[in-house]
Amino acid sequence: MLAYSEVTEFSGQVGDFRAKVHRRARYVDQSKCTACGACAEKCPTRIPNEFNFGLNERKAIYKDYAQGIPSVYTIDPNHCRVLQGKKCGVCAKVCQAKAIDYEQKDYDVELNVSAVIVATGYELFDATQIPEYGYGKLPNVISSLEMERLLSAGGPTSGHLTRPSTIRGEVRLKELPKLIAKAEKDENQDGLVQLKQEQEWLEDHVHRFHLAKKLGFIQCVGSRDFRFHKYCSSYCCMHSIKEAIIAREHESETQSYIFYMDLRTVGKGFEEYKVRGAEVSGLKYIRGRVAEITQDKDLNPVVRYEDTERRTVQSLTLDMVILANACSAPKNTPKVAQLLGVALDENNFLKTHPNRPLDTSVPGIFTCGCAQGPLDIPESVAQASSAAARAAEVVMTGGQALAV
C-alpha cells in the first residue's frame, strides 16, 4: 500500500507498464508510530479540519479519522511550526515510540506492472457556482457530505445535528472576550460597541438555536442542469433520503422535506426504502425546483420553490438546507488521463469501451467506480471486482487475453 503518494511518470504497454510513484514524507516513521495520538493532543497548532469541511479543527500532526489505514500520524508541512522553520518540537518530545522524524524526505518508487486499474473517484460539485442557493454565504446551507459529517458519531458534533451557525457562533464567542479586552485596552470605542453587540447577538442565537429539526434537501444541484452537468448523478436521490431517515433516527422530532425533479430510486430495495422514508420517517417529497434560498434574521434558510403538483409558488422557512451536490469528475482528471494516455468522455470521466465497460482506450488499463461515471457503493464494488478480474486476465496470460 502506497498511501500519501502519487503516480508521476508512466510509460509502457500492456504486460509491461512502468510507473514512478512519488511518496510524500509524513515526517513520522511509519514502522514506529503506534497511532496513540499523544502528539496530536499536545500539538499547539490548530487548523480547520478539511476531512470535516472545516466544521471543527485538527492539529498540524493529524490522522483523518480514527480508523484510518495505514494507522499512522502525518505532519502537515504547511502548518507544522518546526517544518516552517520555527521553534516547537513538542510532538517529538511526547512521542514514546520516537517516531517523529523532521528530516524525512520525499522519495520515488519505480514499479513494473502488467495492468493498471484507475479508481480515482469523484469530486463534489462546487455549489458556489449556483449563487441563488447561497452555498458558502448562508451558514446553514450545507453540502451532502457536510451533512454526513454532522450525522457521524465520529464527526465534529458526535452525531448531533448542530447548526453550522451555532458551531461557528460558539467558536467566535470564545474569541470575542480576548478581542473585547484588546479593544478596551486600545480605547477603541466604536470597535468595542460593535464587538459587544456581536457578542450579545451570538449568545442569544446560540442559546435559542441549537439542533436543526426542520430540514430541506435540494436534489439535482449541478446535475441534470444544462449550465453544469447534463447527466444524472444517480446516487443523490437515495443519498438524501438516507440522510433524512438517519436524521429522524437521531432526533424523533425531525421533519424533512425533499425537493426533487424525479426521485430516481433505481436499485435493489431502493424503491421500498423511499416508501419507508415517507411512512416510517415522515419524509415529505415535494416535486419542484427550488428557485432561490435566502435567510431570515435568525439565519434560518428560506426556500422559495414551485410546487409543480399544486401549481403554486411557495416559501418555506427551515432550520437547515442540505444540497445534493452532483458527482463531478475530479479537477485533476485531465492531468491523470494525459499521464496514462487514456481518453476522457465529454464530462471528463474516463472513456470506456461500449462492449467492455471497464476497458479504457489503452489496452491493459481498466477503470472502476466513479472515475468512469457516477455510481453508488454497491455498483462501485461490483465494478471493482470485475476490473480486478480483467486485470487478472492480463496477468495470467501476459496480455494475450486482450488481443481478441
Partner: protein, 56 residues
C-alpha cells in the same frame, strides 16, 4: 520479462475492493492513494443505503 503485478490508482471503495480481489487471487498489487489514509469519500460517509449499515 512481463511483470505479474498490478497498479491501482485511487484508494477509495472501488480501488480497495479491486485490490482485495486481486490479492485474494495471489496477485501482487500496488495501491496508490494521494491522501494520508485510504477510504476515500466512503470514509466520510456515516451510514450507507438501503440498509443503514455503518461504513467503517
Amino acid at each position: 520479462m512481463a511483470s505479474n503485478e498490478v497498479l491501482i490508482i485511487g484508494g477509495g471503495i472501488a480501488g480497495m475492493q479491486a485490490a482485495l480481489d486481486l490479492g485474494d487471487m495471489g496477485i501482487k498489487v500496488h495501491l496508490v492513494e494521494k491522501n494520508p489514509s485510504i477510504g476515500g469519500k466512503m470514509a466520510q460517509l456515516d451510514k450507507t443505503f438501503p440498509t443503514n449499515d455503518c461504513t467503517i
